[in-house]
């Protein structure tokens, strides 16, 4: 059977599964819609969190990015896993004890202020919308590459599926679908990785395989270091970024992870405080299975690619090369017209342009794996994109129906009315996300990475201080959030979009002006969230000490969330 037939079968089966789960897990109350009734088993919540967290970018693009940047790619590997330690130790158990539905709920109640709640809702909407647009686009791209349909048709199919289980099932439907999606995506990622690891090193465990030697007895990493320097690239296992920037980006991604609303809200779905703690552990374990495999896949794919194409005659290249050339992900431009592929770092001589995504998408073909394995990658990519999109849509829906309508506009709304409002908001959000998927604004790709900086600069300090600093008041928190997010937006607009210096064309030239340059390069916009977060902390603390302490009942809330006992009582009294 061909790749296309296999892909239709595997994608069809996985979609039937998701829809079946959605019908089985319909939400009957608003509590089920927002937090799955608070009764999800911690291991299942860990799986759902992992699927929620790992987007199309983790599944498709990450290995490619690491593959082409080597050590520098570590910022994403550590940055997108280390945040879970912060979540588990500093936020999740306390927010679970607090016992509400959303992040703006916590900010609004802890800082006894509608202003704080509105600021939090706006931040949550900005972060979630930029993120979800990228996911819908990812769905379209996977459809078009694997099922040979138009990208827009792919987005429509994706919208229909997400609409079905997000609107119908709310958090309950999403959670159980995400569990299934985790299984699909991890299987789809690991099978090719294990095959390739065994093929190249004789060791079936990729995490060990990429530290082993190939058939020629040379360690794979040494070989790749050698090949890279030979072709003029930097040594694979060493970096090219400044140390301060590597530090700043890693930190911003970690703290940003811990501040993202669609991740935090997952810890409201488990029954107890101790479940929230352990469920963060399970989530990270499930995520790490993929994330520890990524560096291995990166090394296998890069080595294999260089060995296959470098100085090979174009006429004699294998079939997959032509296949992927058609998609535009591989481009060969025979500059010196000798019919041989020159793949080198020097841009004037280099003849091969490779898209990051190809490292995962084409890997099974490059390694000559069976057709069903190639098809599996398509189903896995869709699972990753759909699960993240659904999680984000839920945050958007509950921000509107719960935080805006129920808490600010119409507190008298009935349970039924709120549930209906939540469903309508989810439906509208799907349509808007689909619109952005079909007409992607040029800035989406750039902003997704920066969403972490924005979350780090706004939410993280406000939540952390709300738990660990009893003296923190609304004046401090609001000032901190506004200054933090404004500073981050300013730096982003200045250095990522060149707004103050003549637009996009000026961006490259501004690199020399990056702040905190101690000789070998400053901090990039991606890493600036670390600085903006620190500024948020400083202002919050200073302002709070110069203004009145929070009222008695708020200090009691803080004492209350610090001990696990009495979760149910907490919900009854608020």
């Amino acid at each position: 059977m061909g790749i296309l037939a296999w892909t239709w079968i595997l994608v069809g089966l996985s979609f039937a599964l998701y829809i079946g789960i959605a019908i089985w897990a319909r939400a009957g109350t608003s509590k089920e819609f927002y937090v799955a009734g608070g009764g999800v088993h911690p291991v299942l919540n860990g799986m759902a969190t992992a699927a929620d967290w790992m987007s199309a970018a983790s599944f498709i693009s990450l290995a490619g990015i690491v593959s082409f940047t080597g050590y520098d790619g570590s910022v994403y590997i550590m940055g997108w896993t280390g945040g879970y330690v912060l979540l588990a130790l500093l936020l999740a158990p306390y927010l679970r004890k607090f016992g509400k539905f959303t992040v703006p709920d916590f900010i609004g109640d802890r800082y006894y202020s509608s202003t704080a709640r509105v600021v939090a809702v706006i931040c949550a909407l900005i972060v979630s919308f930029t993120y979800v647009a990228g996911q819908m686009r990812g769905v379209g791209i996977v459809f078009s590459r694997y099922l040979e349909v138009d990208i827009n048709t792919g987005v429509y199919i994706g919208m229909a599926i997400v609409f079905f289980y997000a609107v119908l099932g709310g958090m309950k439907g999403i959670t159980y679908t995400q569990v299934a999606q985790y299984c699909v995506l991890i299987f789809a990622f690991m099978v090719p990785a294990i095959f390739i690891s065994f093929q190249m090193t004789g060791n079936p465990i990729p995490q060990l395989g990429f530290g082993s030697a190939g058939e020629d007895g040379i360690y794979l990493l040494d070989k790749l270091d050698g090949l890279s320097t030979e072709l003029g690239f930097h040594e694979y296992t060493s970096g090219s970024k400044s140390m301060i920037d590597v530090f700043a980006i890693t930190f911003a991604l970690m703290v940003g992870t811990a501040g993202l609303p669609h991740v935090i809200v997952r810890f409201f779905t488990v029954p107890k405080v101790k479940d929230a703690r352990i469920s963060a552990g399970w989530a990270l374990l499930f995520i790490s299975i993929l994330y520890t495999t990524v560096p291995a896949v990166a090394v296998f794919a890069r080595t294999k690619l260089i060995e296959t194409v470098s100085n090979a005659k174009y006429e004699e290249l294998p079939q997959w090369f032509g296949n992927w050339e058609k998609t535009g992900l591989l481009k060969f431009d025979d500059k010196n017209a000798d019919g041989v592929v020159q793949y080198v770092a020097d841009k004037a001589v280099n003849e091969l342009t490779i898209d990051n995504d190809i490292m995962v998408l084409a890997n099974p073909e490059i390694a000559n794996l069976p057709n069903w394995v190639v098809a599996l990658v398509g189903a896995g990519g869709l699972a990753a994109a759909l699960s993240t999109a659904a999680g984000l849509l839920l945050v958007i829906a509950s921000s509107i129906s719960h935080d805006l309508i129920k808490k600010l506009i119409n507190p008298e709304i009935s349970e039924k009315g709120e549930l209906l409002a939540a469903r309508i908001s989810a439906g509208v959000a799907v349509v808007i996300a689909g619109y952005f998927g079909i007409h992607p604004p040029g800035f989406v790709a750039a902003v997704v990475a920066l969403a972490f900086g924005l979350a780090a600069a706004s939410f993280f300090p406000a939540i952390l201080l709300g738990i660990f600093d009893k003296r923190m008041n609304k004046e401090g928190a609001i000032t901190g959030m506004i200054i933090g997010i404004s500073l981050m937006l300013f730096y982003m607009l200045k250095f990522k979009f060149g707004i103050f210096d003549g637009g996009k064309v000026a961006v490259a030239g501004l690199k020399a002006d990056w702040w905190f340059n101690f000789g070998n390069g400053g901090i990039s916009p991606e890493g600036f969230g670390t600085i903006a977060m620190a500024v948020n902390f400083i202002f919050s603390v200073i302002v709070s000490r110069l203004t009145p302490a929070p009222p008695e009942h708020v200090q009691e809330i803080v004492e209350h969330i610090r001990i696990p006992k009495g979760v149910e009582a907490a919900q009854a009294t608020h």
Binding site: G82, V85, T237, L285, R562, I563, P564
Partner: protein, 84 residues
């Protein structure tokens, strides 16, 4: 729960956090970033040690840290009688 007990519980919790987060910082930022060049001179199997911490080791430690924290806190909750 009395005020004193509550304070003592919270203090022990903060001590755990300080220790665990120091390890978190050590394996990722110190081993994986600040001292990466020095550690890269040490090799085991085909890995340079600094590179290995940045792309493998730190994550293994992260996972262990969370499970250790859960264990410590569950014991602490029982000790002060605040478990659910």
């Amino acid at each position: 729960m009395s005020k004193e007990n509550m304070k003592a519980y919270w203090k022990e919790n903060l001590t755990y956090l300080a220790i665990l987060l120091s390890i978190w910082f050590l394996v990722s930022y110190v081993f994986g970033i600040f001292l990466v060049d020095q550690l890269n001179t040490i090799k085991f199997a085909g890995f340079k040690l600094g590179f290995w911490f940045a792309q493998q080791g730190s994550m293994y430690v992260f996972v262990i840290l969370i499970f250790v924290y859960v264990k410590l806190m569950n014991t602490l909750d029982k000790k002060y009688g605040v478990h659910e």
